[in-house]
């Protein structure tokens, strides 16, 4: 399932890039992120994320790997996680383009494949929920980059 979107962030491209490639920063933006650790800097990370909406949630643990990095315009990552009876695989790509000195456009795609019990059970929710979670993520990224918030460590 391919979802995509774009977000305009009112910040210079370098600042957006630095933010989006900092696991601690983006970890704060991922809805339900419980833990993220760096296995190999700028390459491989491991985390636990509680994915879902309302009370319907699944706790996935898995790895994220940055597979392509073309500073400061493009990053491609692969994520693979498993939860009880289910698995999720994501290939996501972000493209940054300079709108002007103070604005950067982020176009993103995410190819999400959910397997196992969640796929069987929640197919009617999959597209809207993932789209919504992605929107929450990029909205949070935008807010934090624009206001320059440091991770609150919550």
């Amino acid at each position: 399932m391919l979802i995509k979107g774009s977000v305009m962030i009112h910040a210079p491209q370098k600042k957006v890039w630095d933010f989006l490639t900092d696991p601690d920063q983006i970890g704060q933006c991922v809805p339900g992120m419980e833990k993220i650790e760096t296995i190999e800097p700028m390459k491989k990370f491991r985390g636990i994320v509680l994915v879902g909406l309302g009370s319907v949630k699944a706790r996935f643990s898995g790895d994220v790997e940055i597979v392509e990095l073309d500073e400061p315009v493009r990053a491609k990552l692969k994520a693979h996680g498993t939860a009880t009876g289910s698995a999720a695989d994501v290939v996501s790509e972000m493209r940054l383009s300079r709108e002007d000195d103070h604005a950067t456009r982020v176009d993103w795609t995410a190819d999400i494949n959910v397997s196992g019990q969640l796929a069987s059970l929640a197919s009617r929710l999959m597209a809207p929920v993932t789209q919504k979670l992605a929107n929450i993520f990029y909205d949070e990224v935008r807010k934090r980059v624009e206001t320059g918030d440091r991770p609150s460590g919550k």
């Binding site: 498993t82 009880t84 289910s86 698995a87 494949n113 959910v114 397997s115 196992g116 019990q117 069987s120």
Partner: protein, 779 residues
């Protein structure tokens, strides 16, 4: 002989027990010290396994054992091939059967990888979450045509392609017959069947008695004898030391035939290894992915007609989805190939199929077992030809029927039982006439429908025909015995899953012995009670086991008459059997009960004469030369709301010929249940897979079975051409209701939505799909 039992609408013997909760089902078996199994199943349809870490699961309190493929040692073997490839020239057959636990690679979502045994099912399921499996996801083979493309990923690498089998069968010469055609029709049809969704899922309990060296297995199988033999072989036990009990089972429908499912071979193994009873009950989420499906075929079909609508020949090339493994051989595609011919005289036939491995749940027969797919193709082509040639739909069928004097009718190809496809008997026109009369076809088409259309209503009628090959061999056996109490015991090897065997079998014996049906105790599905047999499938219970029971009862009858004749010193011709007594004609006070006779046949003193056997007992076997062909017509009137594409079935009729009817009440029930499943197949049920081989609707919330509101009252009527292949003259009826419902829907829907030009070339439908089809064709 009186006819008080055979052929009567007798209420089912077993129902009081079932309705008051007295029936034993597998999950009712509760043994001291019993362990519970749960299985970790692959979420992926296709992935390599790079390691399994189950150490955390073993540490969980209450977990007793955790097994992966590597723990199974030599016991890890692919399951048996249940049906070997048919003797067809030039056949390609690549044997692949399921393994107990996936080892290096998983091939469908739901395939078991790890078995956990714990003190409760709760703990066992908790432990599944403790297990880490290193998956490396692979692209999945889902689409049948893409699966055969040269660049497709291959599921079974050692085969080198995704071809499971390739079979060509021909009769006459289609290409030359086509030259005489005035009309040739060519279409692409797709037909998908769903999952059986029996009310009871699978279940198995195994108990190992170490001192006696005996294994007892309660199993929801349709074929306990095969399971007994198979398990004995795998576990290195004597067949005499394995007892398989198939107790009451809440629906079989095919997927519970002797599959040697992964759980079915692992649970007894674990019980022996741990020396504790083990239970595994499949839950519904597992059932959707782990119990076999039937699913789909794509047919590229062509038919040639003369100007009168007579079929000159049919050419059909189709793909069959067999899933990740094919333990049941080619039964489903062979049924599709053969049943396409229907009740019609088709002298030229070319049929070719390719069975394709996909990363989906295994495909094996489910009620109808591929017959639906073939019937859909021929019935649709007749409808399209009728339209094109301006011939009435019923009439074009009538013109093509095989005539009564043509039986036995040889179709010259091989059927699923590997015998030539020869129809034993039939008379199709009277069935059609009766159906047209009962549904009011001519009045509806000529008067009612035009009136309704003028009122803006969209009401359509459909009439379709089909045959069903039933009652195939090899054989069944039965033991009939008169007890000292006068009750009669009947034991046979087949299992029972709701068919009413306890009554219909009793009726056969009652007829022979003059004992009322409620005095007869039928035992099925216990290998300690009857050693030999095949199982309940292919609409064969009444035909094969029924005739074995009849033969055994006849022998007991002879023994009764002989003994009573000696007792009364009266000739056998003057004796009659009635009310559990042997009476001397014209001397009403001279009678003896069967119980007393049974005791006399097993004396305490004196001697049994040389050559005689003690007791009033006989064991007989029956094996038909080949299957008996049942036939029928389904007709329906259906209304469609063109705004919402919701449907309402106004009338549903089945006129059916299954030879001699043992119990019309039970037969009606069989037909009703089949039609309900057919309606589900046509308009409600769909196994929705995504491109990664994920089943997207693995719950009853999203897999829509028709409910009592969606299934109308079903009217039935019966023709009767006796099968010459068995003494009772019976044919099977188990699958009749389910087979032609798809094309019936298609025809009636096209008729109802008369103001839109469209063709239905696929099943299943639903409101959304129907709307899209009508729109795509300019609606």
């Amino acid at each position: 002989m009186t006819t008080r039992y055979f052929g009567e609408r007798i209420k089912r013997n077993e129902d009081p027990r079932l309705l008051t909760g007295q029936g034993l089902y597998v999950d009712d078996v509760d043994l001291p010290d019993m362990l519970h199994a749960a299985f970790l199943r692959s979420p992926y349809a296709h992935a390599r396994i790079n390691g399994i870490d189950a150490s955390q699961a073993l540490k969980r309190e209450g977990v007793v054992a955790v097994y992966t493929a590597s723990d199974l040692g030599d016991y890890w073997q692919p399951g048996p091939l249940l049906v070997s490839p048919p003797p067809v020239e030039g056949i390609v057959f690549n044997e692949k059967t399921q393994v107990p636990l996936a080892k290096d690679k998983v091939k469908f979502a739901g395939e078991p990888i790890v078995m956990v045994l714990a003190e409760s099912r709760y703990i066992a399921e908790d432990a599944l979450a403790d297990i880490q499996v290193g998956y490396e996801p692979l692209a999945s083979v889902v689409d049948l045509e893409l699966a055969l493309a040269s660049d497709s990923i291959v599921i079974h690498e050692e085969i080198g392609s995704n071809v499971a089998a390739h079979v060509v069968q021909t009769k006459g010469d289609y290409e030359s017959a086509k030259k005489d055609a005035v009309y040739v029709i060519k279409r692409r049809f797709s037909y998908e069947h769903g999952c059986a969704a029996a009310i009871e899922n699978r279940g198995i309990v195994a108990q190992w008695d170490r001192r006696a060296g005996r294994l007892t297995v309660w199993d929801t199988t349709q074929a306990p004898v095969f399971i007994r033999n198979g398990l004995a072989g795998m576990l290195g036990l004597s067949e005499r030391n394995v007892r398989v009990i198939a107790p009451f089972i809440g629906g079989g429908f095919g997927p519970k035939i002797m599959m040697f499912y992964q759980e079915e071979v692992l649970v007894p193994w674990a019980a022996m290894k741990l020396n504790r009873p083990v239970k595994w009950i499949e839950d519904r989420a597992e059932n959707f992915v782990a119990t076999t499906h039937e699913r789909g075929q794509i047919h590229e079909a062509e038919a040639a007609f003369d100007k009168d609508g007579r079929i000159l020949g049919v050419h059909d090339v189709f793909l069959h989805d067999t899933g990740a493994y094919a333990p049941y051989g080619l039964t489903v595609p062979l049924n599709a190939q053969c049943t396409l011919l229907g009740p019609y005289e088709i002298t030229n036939y070319y049929s070719q199929f390719t069975a394709v491995f996909t990363n989906k749940t295994i495909v094996t027969p489910y009620r109808g077992a591929g017959r639906q797919h073939g019937v859909f193709v021929i019935e649709r082509m007749l409808d399209l030809a009728a339209k094109e040639l301006n011939i009435d739909r019923a009439e074009i069928r009538r013109r093509n029927f095989i005539q009564p004097d043509q039986f036995p009718y040889n179709n010259e190809i091989i059927y699923q039982d590997f015998a030539p496809l020869v129809y034993d008997s039939g008379n199709y026109e009277p069935l059609l006439d009766e159906a047209l009369e009962r549904i009011g076809y001519h009045k509806f088409v000529n008067e009612t429908q035009p009136k309704l259309r003028a009122e803006g209503k969209h009401v359509g009628i459909g009439v379709v025909a089909y045959v069903e090959g039933t009652g195939i061999g090899p054989y069944e056996g039965a033991k009939v015995q008169v007890m000292g109490s006068g009750r009669v015991s009947v034991v046979t090897g087949v299992g029972t899953q709701g068919q009413g065997h306890f009554t219909s079998y009793a009726q056969i014996v009652a007829e022979q012995l003059g004992v009322s049906v409620d005095q007869i105790d039928v035992v099925t599905g216990d290998t300690d009670q009857f050693y030999w047999g095949a199982g309940t499938f292919a609409s064969r219970g009444a035909v094969v086991a029924g005739n074995a029971i009849n033969e055994a009862a006849k022998v007991v009858r002879r023994k009764i008459l002989k003994l009573a004749s000696e007792h009364f010193n009266a000739p056998e011709e003057e004796l009659e059997l009635a009310d559990g007594l042997v009476k001397v004609q014209d001397l009403p006070r001279l009678s003896i009960s069967l119980g007393e006779l049974a005791n006399m046949a097993n004396p305490m003193r004196g001697a049994v004469k040389p050559g005689a056997e003690p007791g009033l007992e006989a064991t007989e076997y029956f094996g038909p030369e080949r299957g008996a062909t049942a036939s029928g017509i389904h007709a329906m009137i259906l209304e469609v709301n063109p705004d919402t594409m919701q449907i309402k079935i106004q009338k549903y009729l089945v006129v059916h010929d299954c030879g001699k009817v043992i119990n019309p009440l039970i037969l009606d029930g069989q037909i009703h249940g089949g039609v309900a499943q057919g309606i589900g197949n046509a308009f409600y049920e769909r196994l929705a897979y995504d491109e990664n081989g994920q089943l997207l609707n693995g719950t009853f919330m999203d897999y829509h079975l028709p409910t009592s509101l969606d299934v109308p009252r079903i009217e039935t009527a019966h023709g009767e051409t006796l099968s010459p292949l068995n003494p009772l003259g019976v044919k099977g009826a188990g699958e009749a209701g389910a087979i032609p419902v798809g094309p019936l829907f298609a025809q009636a829907l096209e008729d109802a939505l008369y103001d839109v030009d469209f063709e239905i070339l696929e099943i299943p439908l639903n409101s959304s799909r129907l709307w899209e089809i009508t729109r795509a064709n300019g609606g």
